[in-house]
Amino acid sequence: MTVNDSNRPCRLLIIDDEPIVGKRLQQVFTKIGFEVEIFTSGPPALESMAKHPFDIVVTDLKMAGMDGIEVLARVRAMNPEARVIIITGYAQPETASDAFERGVFEFIVKPFRLDQLKDVIIRAMADRELCRSRLNQDR
């Protein structure tokens, strides 16, 4: 099982307006022990997040209504510890650098191999845990 320091399963939130993406990711990450929730738009996803925080958020960039950058901003405000990964079919350097300035953990261009995303998610988990343990030491 994939767990974090408090020994509960990692929670992964996936937001993409194209169902194929969530469907595929859910199958893969559930198998390795993540608790996965998928949404096809931002607002209900954030509602769910408000009730029960997620460790990792994977969001599409271009979506009608709330886009990925806004999801990023709201997640960072709600829960700074959560790591946000943006996936997009439109690779534009400006958007990527904008996302990095706003604290995105990684920016991945579709189409991508699942291994790629898996590696990034595992790095994000490690990063999150590292920051936490540093925080604990400082206290």
Binding site: M1, T2, P9, D16, E18, P19, I20, V21, K23, R24, L25, Q27, V28, T30, K31, I32, G33, F34, E35, D60, I87, G89, Y90, K110, P111, F112, R113, L114, L117
Partner: protein, 853 residues
Amino acid sequence: MSSHLPPIGNGLSSAGELSPLSQTFQQFRRILELNNAVIEKIAGLERALAGEFVFDNIFLQRSVTEISELVREVIYTLNSLAGDRFLELYDRFEAIRANLQDLAGGGQGPYSNFLVLPYSLLNRDLDHLAGGKNASLGEIRTSLALKTPDGFAVTARAYYLFMEENDLFAKLAQLRSQTMPPARYNETLQRLFDEAVVPAPLAEAITAQVNDLLKRTEQTTLLAVRSSAVGEDGERSFAGQFFSQLGVAPTMVLPAYKKVMAARFSLPVLAYLHARTDCREIPMAVGVQQMISARVSGIIYSRDPGPHSRDMLSISAIAGLGAGLAAGREDADRYTVRRRYPFAVVASRIISRPTDQPLPEGAKPLAAQNSGLRRGSAVLPLPVLRTLAEIGLLLEKAFEKPQDIEWAIDQAGQVIILQSRPLALSPLPPPKTAAVAEELRKATVLIDNRGQIAQLGVASGPVVLVTPEDDPAAFPAGAVAVCRVASPQLSPIVRKAAAIITDIGSPTGHLATIAREYRTPALFGTGNASRLLSAGLEVTVDVEERRVYAGIVQGLMDMQAAEAEPYLDTPELRILRRLLRWIAPIHLLDPGAAEFRGSNCRTFHDILRFCHEKAVDALIHLHSSTTGIRNLASRPLLLSVPIKIVAIDLGGGLPPDGGERSVAPEQIRSRPLRALLQGLCNEAVWDREPAPFGLKDLLSGMTRPLTMLTSPPEYAGENLAIVGANYCNLSLRLGYHFNVIDAYLSADPEDNYIYFRFVGGMAAQEKRFRRVTLIAAVLESLFFKVDCQGDLLVAKAKMLAPEHMDAILARLGELIAFTRQLDVRLVDDSTAALFYGRFQAQIRDATAGWPEK
């Protein structure tokens, strides 16, 4: 896209005159280059379909645009090369491109305006036009190689036409707004539809289809007119709610059609759909089919619905056509059968029959009892039960859900599938994530992170090691097939297998396409699965993770079973499949056939194949047909083997012409040609014995140009090398093959490439496929990327160091000479495989220590 071709000379011949060949030849090379670019893009789409990466609609739209641009340029370039002789290709191109753009944008595609669609055009992704029942039947007959009644669909489009022309939506709304007793409602409904007129274009289309159907199926005298609602068999199960009319005379199809339409609005159906459902939703498509004269018929539940019997399937059977069986009006023989080979019967219940009822052929009559009934006598013999069980598993795999299948056995003893739809089972609760993760952690991993995804999925079963020579009938359905090479001969085994794993093979090969049709989970190119997995071992294959576990990992299986909608039915994948149907298949296979015409191109791949063939033709005949080039010095090469090659120099490829026109190999300055000839002239691979030739092979060669049969193989056709210092293009008719090698070899690996195209061979078709598969395997071990379509093979290696290029070209030369020998001599297949195996082993030794592929 701009060309990335490295320059091959200065446009001057060795004599220093400006070569008119240069421009023409650059166009030829551009066609090769574009051809490769398109093949790579198609491979990218096929890999996406296989499940290798996560993609979205933007990727699909972009791919369509890019491929279209490339194909258009191929047509343009061919026409400038061949004096605008193939302008009809633009029409085909525009038609295909328009279809693709519509589909990529989520449109309904080229058939959306059709009022009727014959079953031969239908597949699972046309359910939005033809309804679920028709679409499934189309898929079953076209892709799954099972028999279904022949017939055609009257589409959802026809439904709207019929309803709107008769103003029926408004009239129905009015009728439904009134309160009245059910009998009066039914009466009014019936009258509305009786009075309605089938619009003329629709009536004509239906009549034409009925006539075609009667012509195709000579014995047919009666038809079945069946409901096939859009959305039926899908998210809702409408089992038994709609109306079908059996035994309809061909002249009575239109009244029957109206009856089926009327029943869409019967009170039980409306109640079932809930009153709130708009009548415009769930349009009613209809299937018009030949009636099957059934000896026996019945139903398969691919998974027994009982609470404790998920490892069982159930089969019921009745003599004759059991129309009442599905509706529960008739009693039948019932069998409970294990879902695993050899499909043991664990329970059966045979009903007694009246003595006056005829028994199906083969069934033994038993003594009559006092009641006037015969004692139980099974209508199905055991082997047929097993066949039905296999069909149940096959359809469950193909539609990714347990199925409720209506079948019949006709007078000829063939099993005909009348209908297959998802079995309405209460969905299993998904297993607990944590428990699955724990089970996976404990499971023994036999293969991890190896191979490529050819078809996603999870499956379990016993390992059976197979070879292309195996009899598919002996393969136990539901087992996991493991083999060395993903050979097309394994298609019938892929059909029966729960999953297939190969050592060698790629997600873009022919067998991968077959695996995707049957939805058999497939993991190709693992390297050594056939050594790691021993026969009889129970395994669970998870293609997504490219992993094989020992034993049955139930959690994984349950997780897959709990999926509400199969991944493969997501909208993006359906769009991708629809797109690929207009892009990837090749219908124009034989350049010698009369149908090999530009106007017959049905897909982009057809266009490519056609253009490529015509471009090669133009090139081959260039120096004999074009005035400017005829005068150009073509110089014979002095070779030690019986091949005649003439060479034309684009600059720096041959020694200056000092009066002696012929050129000895050691004088050749073109580096790639030197390397290639080194292999091609290797005495060790030439055998001068005359080739034995069998009648069957001669007959199979009859469709090819007669010159190939009458002239000795060594001299058939012309062999032309066009060379530069770093470049060589060789068109070679050797034996009964036709090869094109196009290579660039310089000090800079970035620019280097070898393109190899191989087609034909004189042997019977099956052998030619097999040979191509073996050649593909050798080429793959030679750092080539290989694409095979029938007996056409295109391979490309690129960006390799010059010394590796020399070695590969030499081996390629040997392979060409050697293949010619094998094909002409028609050695048996196992010997051929052995030879290729040795060849491959040599290559492994020769390339040991090279960088990783």
